[in-house]
Subunit: 112 residues, 2 copies
DNA sequence: AGGAGTGGTAACGCATGGGTTTGCAGGGAG
DNA sequence: CTCCCTGCAAACCCATGCGTTACCACTCCT
């Protein structure tokens, strides 16, 4: 049986740092350490992983320049850029959710 | 620093079976074993977990009827139902993604 | 008596995703 | 000479999510 496209979509963006990476990359091509400086909490290894997965999934393109010191650029593919409207939809829903949650007085934090 | 609403949205639906549960519950109120029959691959324990998390997050409402044999109904809250347009957007994107992926000839299966 | 159908919980195991640390290559700057 | 910058990889650890199995309580049906 085939997997639902919604599920596929979720799997593509559910890495811990992928949505933030997408946000930054939607702003334009970035170098590796540029991304690291934008997201200092992320380890180098994890950053590489997330980017590599997105590359494997066809969302991100990786360009290596044979220079010293090394230079590697990450940019969104056409497919990656096509995520933007959907992400905006998710953004709007998320904002509404947060508003609704705090209107309900519920502190839905995950630390019990 | 505040977490991005997109990230929040992802966290709410990224459980392994949550999108499928949402699909079924968008079709109307369901009893527990009714859901189990719709999704036989899911263990009872896991099913309970996913539903409980969605309840905690305010997406699902749980009603217990004091009958014998027990009867427990799960229905979407207003907030849960408000997910539908966003999920449809994700569905459409996912379909386009699959088409693009197989057009590119790439078998992006996760088993190397 | 025994089985099925109801909706659970508890104990356990395991793969995986993420995090930490360390090392490497090769040239430029102090 | 030594340190810094670039982007990466390998070895290791740990928490979490999911899965497996077993058990419970209560009633009706055969």
């Amino acid at each position: 049986m085939q997997k639902c496209p919604v599920e596929i979509t979720v799997e593509l963006i559910e890495g811990k740092w992928k949505t933030e990476l997408l946000r930054h990359l939607l702003g334009g091509t970035k170098r590796f350490n540029e991304l690291r400086r934008l997201m200092p909490e992320v380890t180098q290894r994890v950053m590489t992983n997330q980017l590599r997965e997105m590359e494997r999934d066809g969302l991100v393109e990786r360009t290596v320049y044979a220079e010293i010191p090394p230079k590697v650029e990450y940019r969104l593919t056409e497919l990656g850029r096509s995520l933007e409207p959907m992400l905006l939809e998710m953004l709007r829903w998320g904002e509404a959710y947060v508003r609704a949650a705090e209107a309900a007085g519920c502190d839905r934090s995950r630390n019990p």
